[in-house]
Structures are given as C-alpha cells and as structure tokens.
C-alpha cells in the first residue's frame, strides 16, 4: 500500500461525496440529527448522574452497638467494614461526640443541666457507600456481627437511586443502539447509490487490474467522511447550546443552581467528544462496509 494510493482513495472518496451530493447531505443530516439528539441526551444524563452521585454520597448507614462494647472492638469493626468494596468511608462517632452534636443541635443552653452523658451507649459508626445497590448486603453483614444492637438505614433512598441508575443505563444503551442502527442503514444506502452510479467505473477498474482494496477503499472513505462530518457538526452545536443553557439556568433560577451543581462543558465534552467521534466513525465504517460487501463483489 503506497501513500499515493491512499491519497488517491481519499481524493476519490471526496469526489464520490461531491458527486453523490444529495444522498451524502441527507446522510450527514440524519447522522447529525441522531448524534445531536444523542449528545443532548448524554449531556442531560451525565448531569443527572452527577446529581444522583452527590445524593448517593450522602446516603449513610448508622450502626449502634450493644451496651458495654468497648471502643477497641468498635474500631476493629470499623476497619472490617471499611475493607468491603461497596463502602466508601466509615466514621466513628464516640458517645462524647454524639452528645456534643446533640447538645448543639437540639438543646443549646439547656444542656447545662446534664452532668452525665445521657447518650452513653450511642457511640456509632456512620457508613457511606460507594455503591448503594449493595446496601442490603452490607446491612445483613453488619447485622450478623454480635455487637450490633441496631442498624439505621433507608431502603427507600437506596432503592430509588439504584432504580434510577439502572433505568439510565438501559435507556441510554437502547437509545444508542437505535440511533446507531438508523444511521448505519442510511449510510449504507448512500454508499450503495454511489456504487450503483459508478458501476461502469468499477467494472473498468476490475478489467484493468485494480485490487479489491483499491476498488473498495474510496467507498469506505466516503462513508467514514460522512460519519466524521456527521459527528463534528453536532459536537459544535452542542458546545454552544450547552453553554447557553447553563448560563440561562444559572441566571434564571439562582436558587436551583445553589442546590444542584451542573457539570462544566469541558467535563461533559471530555467524554462526549470522543464518544460522538467514535460513533460517527463507527457508523460510517460499518455502514459503508456493509454495502461494499453486498454490492461490490470484486
């Protein structure tokens, strides 16, 4: 394979594209639309995920111990729990700390009347999960420990978050698959038309002794070009839209933006740009490959 023939294939691919303008534009428009919708969807999704993650980080399980359990045992349990993969971090809250917090939170100046710590047995472990879907598993592990008196947790929060994550995953996979299939179909149609239009040329090439690779390359390149153009356009559009929307939301709903933090465009694009390019190139390659295989028996 010489460089010059690579250039030839590239030149021919571009020529095909121009000669086949109407179909090529239609394909580019469709892929742009598909990837644009996908990109928007993705942007919303990563922000949603980001919010869910923030909430998730706040989900905790509190473990209280049987009266008389010494601190050393509790700290040992802390280490055991920390070693589990679904656990993000564990905080040990001694009886004194618990009482201090309680006093500050609820009693204020009335706390003066207490001489002893009424929360003597309230030393506890506060466990933060990295994976809320494993909450039930962790709870049963903790409950099985003999010193455990009580485990406080909320199944509702964990289940909701787990469900939300699962739905997000399913929907995005389904969505990508659908858009991918539609785009591949459209590209392969465009390439087939190109092949039909150039049947004569292809025949002559074969008579003269062009290799299969040489005959096929321009069409695959045409498909790749359509795919790349069809992914660069939505990347640019989404970049502007994303910034505009963020600006708008921040200025219009200042309260909302103080509760939720949105991801900056650079963070989103770190994933989105390669993803869209890969999708575009993949769609272009598979789409053209299918029709080249089907219609170009060289």
């Amino acid at each position: 394979m010489r460089i010059s023939s690579l250039f030839y294939a590239l030149g021919q691919g571009i020529k095909n594209l121009l000669r086949n303008r109407v179909f090529a534009l239609a394909s580019i428009a469709t892929i742009t639309t598909c990837l644009f919708v996908f990109g928007l969807f993705f942007s919303v999704l990563v922000n949603f995920r980001h919010i869910v993650q923030t909430v998730e980080e706040g989900v905790s399980i509190t473990v209280f111990f049987e009266p008389g359990t010494d601190e050393e045992t509790m700290l040992q349990r802390k280490v055991e729990i920390e070693e589990r993969p679904e656990v993000n971090k564990v905080e040990y809250i001694s009886a004194e700390q618990a009482w201090e917090t309680f006093k500050v939170d609820y009693l204020g100046e009335y706390a003066e009347g207490f001489t002893e710590n009424p929360l003597e047995d309230s030393a506890n472990l506060e466990i933060y999960l990295s994976d809320v879907s494993k909450q039930a598993e962790l709870v049963s592990f903790i409950e099985a420990m003999e010193e455990t008196r009580e485990v406080n947790y909320s199944t509702v929060t964990a289940d909701t978050l787990t469900g939300a994550n699962r739905i997000i995953a399913y929907v995005s996979v389904g969505f990508i698959a659908l858009l991918f299939a539609v785009s591949v179909f459209l590209i392969s149609n465009t390439i087939s038309t190109g092949i039909a239009v150039r049947k004569e040329e292809i025949n002559i090439m074969k008579y003269v002794g062009a290799t299969d690779f040489f005959v096929r390359a321009p069409f695959v390149i045409e498909g790749l070009l359509i795919g790349v153009i069809g992914s660069v356009i939505p990347i640019v559009i989404i970049y502007f839209i994303y910034n505009k929307v963020l600006e708008y939301v921040m200025s219009r709903f200042p309260t909302l933006s103080s509760i939720i933090t949105f991801l900056p465009v650079t963070t989103v694009f770190q994933q989105l740009v390669p993803l869209l390019l890969i999708l575009g190139v993949g769609i272009g390659f598979i789409g053209s490959f299918i029709s080249v295989r089907k219609h170009l028996r060289v």
């Binding site: 002559i204 003269v208 002794g209 062009a210």
Partner: protein, 282 residues
C-alpha cells in the same frame, strides 16, 4: 469449492492455452462445448461465428471474469482454473480489453479516461504524464485529449478505449466486437491500429462480425458454431473451408460492401457464401 490444479501441458510459446473447455450458465444450453485452442505469442487471431455461438463467453473466460464449468485455461502461465482471487488483479494487468460499446467514463475527458487505467494500477504521476500523451498520439488523438467522450465521434471514442487498453502495455489485447458500432471507415482505422499493436509484439484476439475485414486482413480465423470451434484457419495460406449451409435457411446475400476496391468485394461475397448468412444484421 476447492479449486483443482490443472495438469495440462503448455506448448512452447503459447500465451493462451485452452483444453476441453466447457461453460454453462445457470440456465439454458451450454455456451461453450469442449473448446481446445492454442494461441502463440505475437499472433493476431480473429474469432468469428453466429450470434450466440459463445465468442463473448470465450473472451470473458480469458479475462477470468468467468470460470469454466469444465476444462483448463492457461493464460500467460496463469492457471485460470485455480488462480487465487487475490492474484487476479496482477494477472489482468497483462491484458488489455476493448468492447463494442467503448465503455468510457462520460464525466471525464480523454486524458483522464486513459490515465485512469494507469492510476488504478498505481503508476506514478510522472510516468502517467509521459505514457498517456504517447499512447494518445499512437491512436491519433493527441489534439483531442481535453474532449469528453460526448464530444467525440464513435471511431474516436473507440480509439480512446483502445488507448486505455494499451497504456499499461499489455501482453495480450482482447477485443470483443471493437468495430460493431462503427462505420466501415472507422472500423478499418481501428483494425489498422490493432495490426500496428500486434506488430509491436502484442498478441491480439479480436471477435468480430465484420467478415469483410476478416477477409482483407489475412489473419488466423477461428470460427465458432454453437459453442464449438467449427474451423481454425490461417488466412495467410487461405484454404477453402467446406462451405457450411444450414439446411433450414436460405443463404443470404448482401450487396452492401465495405472498402473501395473490387477485389475486396469479391472476397466479401465469397465469405458470405462460405459462412452461410453470417453477416452483420443491420
């Protein structure tokens, strides 16, 4: 399907060897029925015969566009029965081919049509710039290189096609009715060009219905009939073939003639009689 290696012997100096070649298309009677044939390097061979007698099928087998149902074909040492698919392009670079309908690319000019053949075999641009004008001069189209096919006469178009077939310097030139769409003057010019190519050492195989040209050129003539070789004559020492007459048909005579001299006309009539209604149907 496993490809069988052929075991035939290739006579010294042969560029085309066919042994007991049969070809059947999916439907219908066999197109070729046991063809055996030797063509030596540097020969000029006409292939004639009724419509449907298998001439084009034979050409397409030699191009390895088709594979025989049975029998062996060897072209330039390539065993066409067992040749690997990936080797076919390399094989075809030794052949030039011309068809009745020219098959030029309408969207580009004469120069690019010819250069196309060099580009697809990865010839360097420098060589292309040298070779294309040279071959266009050979076929007498040096001044029309910027024209598109639509701006050329039929004869000129066929000369472009010929230039394209020759620009890669093939060892064998195959032509399937190259003059089928041309008037006598243009037909004759093409034939003269083919003869010139042959004098340069290229083996030339021409399928034609133009009996007149065949007679005038005095070359080897292979006559096909229903997928078989009916006769194989060297016209240089022309021997009177047994006149063939289809009992079901009246012999056809045609007073249309090609060429200017009476001598040609005479041989023309003779040939019509010999071939029994074997004429270009207008």
């Amino acid at each position: 399907m496993r490809k069988r290696k052929s075991t035939i012997e290739i006579p010294e100096g042969n560029v085309i060897t066919m042994r007991n070649v049969h070809k059947s298309y999916e439907q219908g009677t066999p197109a070729l029925n046991g063809i055996s044939l030797d063509i030596q390097q540097g020969e000029f061979v006409f292939i004639v015969g009724d419509s449907g007698s298998g001439k084009s099928t034979l050409i397409r087998l030699l191009l390895r566009e088709l594979t025989p149902t049975e029998g062996d074909i060897n072209v330039l040492g390539y065993d066409l029965t067992s040749i690997r698919h990936s080797r076919i392009p390399k094989f075809r670079r030794n052949l030039g081919v011309v068809f009745q309908d020219f098959r030029l690319l309408e969207d580009r000019n004469v120069y690019d049509n010819v250069a196309f053949a060099q580009r697809v075999v990865l010839e360097s641009t420098r060589n292309i710039r040298k070779n294309v004008p040279e071959i266009l001069a050979t076929v007498g189209l040096a001044d029309k290189y910027k024209n598109t096919p639509a701006q050329l006469s039929g004869g000129e178009q066929q000369r472009v096609a010929l230039a394209r077939a020759l620009v890669n310097r093939p060892l064998i030139l195959l032509a399937d009715e190259p003059t089928g769409n041309l008037d006598p003057t243009n037909s004759w010019e093409i034939m003269k060009l083919l003869e010139k190519v042959n004098e340069g050492g290229t083996t030339v195989v021409v399928v034609t219905h133009n009996q007149d040209i065949v007679d005038k050129m005095q070359k080897r003539v292979i006559t096909m009939k229903r997928g078989e070789i009916e006769s194989d004559e060297d016209e240089a020492g022309y021997m009177e073939p047994v006149p063939y007459m289809d009992p079901m048909e009246e012999p056809e005579y045609d007073d249309q003639s090609f060429g200017e001299t009476a001598e040609i006309e005479a041989s023309f009539e003779e040939a019509v009689y010999v071939e029994g209604g074997y004429l270009d149907e207008d």
